[in-house]
């Protein structure tokens, strides 16, 4: 199959990561902490979506909305219980707390939800595009036949919708600008009259909503279990940081870089080395950072 198909696969994988990475990076940039429990937020979103899909009437999108709302609610409750009280202490204690919280949530989910994975009942249709001309360059075919599934379209579509909404939110609304301002300098933000607690709460809710969405999408493609989100946290973290600290645009770029590298390296590595595809993704990640030390979308800050 051609490169085109691989790129499609890469875009899909990137989209899953991107949605979650935005949520992760918002917390990173604005609340100023690395939230290692974010994978569990995703798992919780998946569980809520799963419960909704099996108890509520109505199609899957209803469950998605419920998962997003639920994710937001859970996120704010956890933030209030665990992170808000130690907000003033700075990033390191918060990071450690998130590790502890992650352990608690993951095992809590295991305890409540049991060990075996559950699955969403979904129908997928596949659209085959045949008779696309080949465009060979060396051993690589740039075009060639390809297919997309309805699920993939939904995932990419959701990602694009999320990007657009986040962009508008952060640049066009007072709340969004206030969020970014808080990431810069919290005490100045307060002096400007920004209710920082409210803004922080909104960031937590937003991050939870995105985790809910990412959770259901990932779960539909894979399964619902205590590890649904945890197994992706490294990719999410990498995408977010690769993009440039706290920049949602960077996170999106980072996510697609990782998604594409995963797909393309699986396709083109020598046979005995296909298991290395994520290692390759990490190598590329390091390479990118060496070329652009401020991250993909990072700007160099004035030093003196």
């Amino acid at each position: 199959m051609g490169l085109l198909q691989e790129i499609i696969f890469g875009l899909v994988t990137g989209s899953y990561i991107a949605i979650a990475a935005i949520g992760f990076t918002l917390i990173y940039g604005i609340v100023n902490m690395i939230n290692f429990a974010y994978g569990e937020y995703i798992s919780i979103g998946a569980f809520i979506g799963f419960l909704a899909a099996n108890t509520l009437p109505g199609p899957l999108p209803v469950a998605v909305v419920v998962a997003m709302i639920g994710g937001g609610v859970v996120s704010i409750i956890l933030a209030r219980g665990f992170f808000t009280p130690i907000n003033h202490t700075g990033p390191v204690p918060m990071l450690l707390t998130s590790i502890g919280l992650g352990i608690v949530l993951r095992n809590g989910l295991r305890l409540a939800g049991g060990r075996s994975a559950r699955y969403f009942e979904t129908e997928t249709s596949t659209f085959q595009f045949d008779a696309i001309p080949d465009l060979p360059v060396g051993p690589v075919d740039l075009l060639g036949d390809f297919f997309v599934t309805s699920e993939q379209l939904v995932v990419v579509g959701s990602a694009v919708a999320v990007f657009a909404s986040i962009h508008l939110l952060l640049t066009r609304t007072d709340v969004g600008i206030a969020m970014r301002a808080m990431g810069d300098d919290e005490s100045l933000a307060r002096v400007r009259g920004i209710d920082t607690q409210l803004i922080r709460d909104s960031v937590w809710v937003l991050a939870g909503v995105l985790a809910g969405l990412a959770g259901v999408l990932m779960a539909v493609q894979t399964n619902v279990s205590a590890d649904t989100g945890f197994s992706h946290i490294l990719q999410i973290l990498s995408a977010a940081i690769l993009g440039g600290a706290g920049s949602p645009y960077g996170a999106i770029l980072g996510a697609y870089v990782i998604g594409l590298v995963l797909a393309v390296s699986t396709a083109f590595l020598p046979s005995s080395m296909t298991g290395l595809s994520s290692a390759v993704a990490f190598v590329i990640l390091i390479a990118v950072l060496l070329v652009k030390p401020s991250g993909i979308a990072g700007t160099e800050v004035r030093e003196a």
Binding site: F82, T97, I99, G100, N107, L234, A279, I286
Partner: protein, 347 residues
């Protein structure tokens, strides 16, 4: 003379003496017919104690890197792993899979330290100029890359089985298990104490002041004429070499290495230990590590007194460990013995 007594000496030296005494005692048990007696109920504590002193070397290296210099190393386990694999591959005899060269163990241990140091140098050469969180991701990525390599290149690294048949110098000298455990604990504990003495000397000296200055503001440190790249590289390489030493000792103690021993879990454990105790304070990070490892072990015994089944207990135990961690940080955000102002943590 007046200068001398104003220097914060003593601290490291007591550790040095204690370490040497431990090594001596350990050697005594190992080479003389002297025998120790150990109630078997304590075995598991000594086992975990041995692991603790090995991880102790790891956490001291990490504290040099992060606690003092501010280098965020999220892939510490990779240096541990490289040290262990290098030692194992050099010394193993008829390993089931992968390479085993059968050289004597002191050579293996030395190569383990050097290999980890070289990897540390390679990582720092490429990445130490990067901003803090990017270094974090590079180290994390390096650890993942090496994990994949160990797993995937079966002919060299033995795949998931790892390298077996590594010599166990202490076990081969002592045949009865009580003495063997005690001797191992003493010898490895001695190495950890000596390490503690060494890093304490380093960080109590003006050397440590430069490291802490880099942590505070690199540009300022450069502006007063310190080559921060050199110091960051050194701190990183020293930390990596210590991890390599820990890895080599681990291989020689366990008799085998496998990817399962070198998961991200190790990195998480030493980070928790360091932050829980209080970064930038060597004794505190060791104490923090002992708390988290002790907690994990002690909590295992609670199964006997809880009414729940083993299955449910497994989850509850981890939940409790997590909650304790969260609670401690809530009330001691800079770690139990950490200095909040030095760490820039608001209480």
């Amino acid at each position: 003379m007046s200068v001398l007594d104003r220097l914060p000496s003593g601290r490291g030296d007591r550790a040095l003496i204690a370490g040497l005494v431990c090594l001596l005692l350990g050697a005594l048990f190992a080479v003389t017919p002297l025998r120790a007696q150990l109630p078997s109920a304590l075995y598991v504590f000594v086992e975990v104690g041995i692991l603790f002193v090995i991880y102790g070397i790891l956490v001291l290296g990490l504290d040099l890197q992060y606690g003092h210099t501010g280098l965020v190393n999220f892939g510490h386990v990779v240096f541990f792993a490289v040290g262990a694999y290098a030692t194992a591959m050099l010394t193993a005899q008829d390993t089931f899979a992968g390479i085993g060269l059968g050289y004597p163990w002191p050579l293996g241990l030395a190569v383990g330290v050097i290999a980890a140091a070289i990897l540390g140098a390679a990582v720092s050469l490429t990445s130490i100029r990067l901003r803090g969180d990017f270094l974090a991701i590079v180290t994390l990525a390096t650890a993942e890359i090496f994990h994949s390599i160990f797993v995937n290149f079966e002919n060299i690294f033995g795949g998931n089985v790892g390298i077996l048949g590594v010599p166990r110098p202490i076990a081969s000298l002592v045949s009865d298990s009580d003495t063997r455990l005690v001797a191992t604990l003493l010898v490895l504990g001695g190495v950890t104490l000596v390490t503690l003495a060494v890093v304490t000397r380093l960080t109590d000296a003006p050397y440590g002041r430069v490291l802490r200055a880099i942590r505070a503001d690199e540009l300022v440190t450069r502006s007063v004429g310190k080559s921060t790249i050199t110091y960051k590289t050194q701190a990183f390489v020293y930390g990596a070499a210590l991890a390599g030493l820990a890895g080599g000792l681990f291989a020689l103690y366990n008799g085998a290495v496998a990817p399962g021993f070198f998961t991200i879990q190790v990195t998480v454990t030493v980070w928790i230990g360091m932050l829980l105790g209080g970064a930038a304070n060597h004794r505190a990070v060791l104490a923090g590590l002992s708390i988290i490892m002790g907690l994990r072990l002690i909590s295992r015994f609670a199964l006997n007194v809880t009414p729940v089944s083993g299955d449910v207990f497994a989850s509850i135990r981890l939940i409790v460990v997590g909650l304790i961690l969260v609670t401690v940080i809530r009330y001691r955000p800079a770690g139990i013995w950490g200095d909040p102002q030095e760490l820039g943590v608001d209480q």
